[in-house]
């Protein structure tokens, strides 16, 4: 058994009500609603949360250190294991960071396929988020429906890259090989049915009274506080800040694509839900445009056999489904990076849990963890 009280900062103390004392609750690390091996230690005053402490690091594998001792190409599969819910997004961040040290010209076909696969991974990630988030709050059907569509996206990945979860999708300079025509056909078939499936989820949730009561006004954060805590992605946008790196610092094929960056107003769990659902619709639009505009030609530029970038340091980040996912990379001119730093959106967004939860109820913490949308593989690295 875990000794809740000995090693942690959250300790029992006098409560606001005389003659009672605060209750320390240990949630996790294998609690079904904590999304991975996350342990949360809650200090409660009655039903109200007064302090939150997260115990993370169960999945720490020293990925940054590994990256400093293998070549640039060898690190691509490791990035799959960071945000494994949306592995192609992590691949994209890494290959673009390394490419930014060079002045290679990536062929347009590769750029469009990259954007398309990144958006498919956004859909896959948001579907898993919606499924588990709704399940945490008690809506079982949404879970089953979302996984039905997530399976379709994973099948698309398998068709294009031969793997479902850790896809190792991109290479430095472009793609390993062109995607098969069947992948493009199946993707088009998928985006034709997917908007109606999103409507189905919304029928179950958006005006559902239980859902509204559990999410509206829960875990509210202001735009100022969200920026202070460096919360990025849908959490920041739910507060009304229109900050999306696909727009602010366009990469891959995004400069050529037309899409809307949805923002919320109240910064609560419900607005985060609305923002992510709308992002899935926008992703569908982006994929459709990519398919329509997909140019012919090579999928990889000519790259040297050994990748030796010039010495220097760059920071490059992309809009991962969970937020700003970036790499700070120091090259010393050799075949291996000198320093690889992963800017993990889950880790930094999870740090906001305390701010979001304190003052709320225990049941709200479950809803808030779901709405932050963390993946512990990338949080712990």
């Amino acid at each position: 058994m875990l000794d809740v009280e000995s090693s942690q900062r959250v300790e029992r103390g006098p409560s606001t009500v005389p003659g009672t004392e605060d209750l320390v609750i240990n949630m996790g690390p294998q609690h079904p609603s904590t999304h991975g091996v996350l342990r949360v230690i809650l200090k409660m005053d009655g039903e109200t949360v007064t302090d939150v402490d997260c115990d993370i690091g169960y999945l720490h594998r020293g990925t940054e250190k590994i990256g400093e001792n293998i070549t640039y190409t060898m690190f691509i599969p490791y990035t799959d294991r960071l945000d494994y819910i949306a592995a192609p997004s992590s691949n994209l961040a890494w290959v673009q960071t390394v490419e930014s040290l060079f002045d290679w010209e990536i062929p347009p076909r590769a750029l469009f396929i990259r954007s398309m696969v990144a958006e498919l991974s956004r859909i896959a990630s948001h579907l898993l988020w919606l499924a588990t988030h709704a399940l945490d709050i008690g809506a079982m059907t949404v879970f089953l429906w979302c996984f039905r569509e997530r399976e379709m996206v994973l099948d698309l990945f398998e068709r294009a890259f031969g793997a479902r979860l850790t896809v190792n999708a991109f290479r430095l300079g472009g793609l390993f090989q062109d995607v098969p025509q069947e992948f493009l056909d199946d993707t088009r078939a998928f985006i034709e049915i997917f908007p109606s499936r999103i409507d189905d989820y919304e029928t179950l949730l958006t005006e559902n009274r239980i859902w509204l009561q559990r999410t509206q006004g829960v875990g509210v954060i202001s735009a100022e506080d969200a920026m202070d805590l460096a919360l990025t992605g849908p959490i920041l946008r739910s507060t009304g800040v229109q900050w999306d790196l696909r727009r602010a610092k366009p990469y891959a094929a995004y400069p050529f694509l037309d899409f809307v960056v949805p923002v919320g107003e109240n910064g609560d769990v419900y607005d985060r839900y609305l923002v992510r659902v709308e992002e899935m619709r926008q992703s569908t639009r982006i994929i459709e445009q990519c398919l329509d505009m997909l140019p012919d030609g090579p999928v990889s530029c000519k790259t040297p056999r050994t990748i030796k970038p010039p010495a220097g340091e760059v920071y490059h980040s992309i809009e991962n489904p969970k937020g700003e996912f970036g790499f700070y990379l120091v090259s010393d001119g050799t075949e291996t990076p000198y320093r690889v730093r992963i800017r993990p959106p889950s880790f930094i967004n999870l740090a906001g849990l305390k701010k979001l939860s304190v003052g709320g109820l225990l049941a709200d913490v479950i809803a808030i963890i779901g709405s932050i949308d963390i993946v512990l593989g990338e949080c712990d690295r």
Binding site: I56, G57, G62, G312, I348
Partner: protein
């Protein structure tokens, strides 16, 4: 103190003029900081002169004041500290660098601040300026062993609390099970 700041300022300006005849990126921010805190910026660089990769190397004494200024000044408005990390350069005289990556949503631009410190030197914590620094400074403390003065809750975050050393230092061995001390322990560790 005042003399030292004065000489660094003149050095910094002189080298900037000789190195780059055309305006290097980030010069507006440099002028902003220099006007308020002369001598705070020791070096300025940008990878391939890119606007996104502007880096200022700061004097440790000035860190908090410069950060607060850059956060609150409307022309800079760096409201987000998006990343805070460190790097270890074994052979350097000041082997550690602490790196701050700032984002300004209003101006859609990035700025990197850097500090070079000695082994065992404490760094002022920026948690008072950006709350996001809390966990990131804990991570740097955990993996590099850099202490942050004024941090409200400086504990290990990813590794077990009894781990004993700091694996992201470059002299930490890659192979071997469990904990190995490669170099002789630092003063702080043996003191504990």
């Amino acid at each position: 103190m005042a003399d030292e700041a004065g000489t660094t300022e003149s050095n910094g300006e002189g080298s900037a003029e000789t190195e780059a005849p055309k305006t290097p990126p980030g010069m507006d921010l440099r002028n902003l900081v220099d006007a308020e805190f002369p001598g705070a910026v020791l070096e300025q660089s940008a990878y391939e002169d890119r606007e996104d990769e502007v880096t200022f190397v700061l004097k440790v004494d000035y860190l908090l004041r410069v950060c607060e200024y850059l956060r609150n000044h409307p022309a800079a408005s760096f409201k987000i500290l998006t990343d805070l990390t460190a790097a270890h350069y074994l052979e350097n005289e000041e082997p550690f660098q602490v790196i701050y990556q700032l984002v300004s949503v209003d101006h859609a631009r990035l700025l990197r601040l850097k500090m070079k410190i000695r082994d065992g030197q404490e760094v002022p914590s920026v948690t008072e300026i950006w709350s996001s620094a809390n966990w990131m400074e804990r991570e740097v403390y955990d993996l590099f062993g850099i202490s942050f003065a004024g941090h409200p809750d400086l504990r290990r975050i990813l590794l077990p609390e009894d781990w004993g050393s700091h694996p992201f230092r470059k002299d930490y061995p890659l192979e071997g099970r469990g904990e190995r001390i490669y170099s002789k322990p630092t003063r702080k560790e043996s003191g504990e």
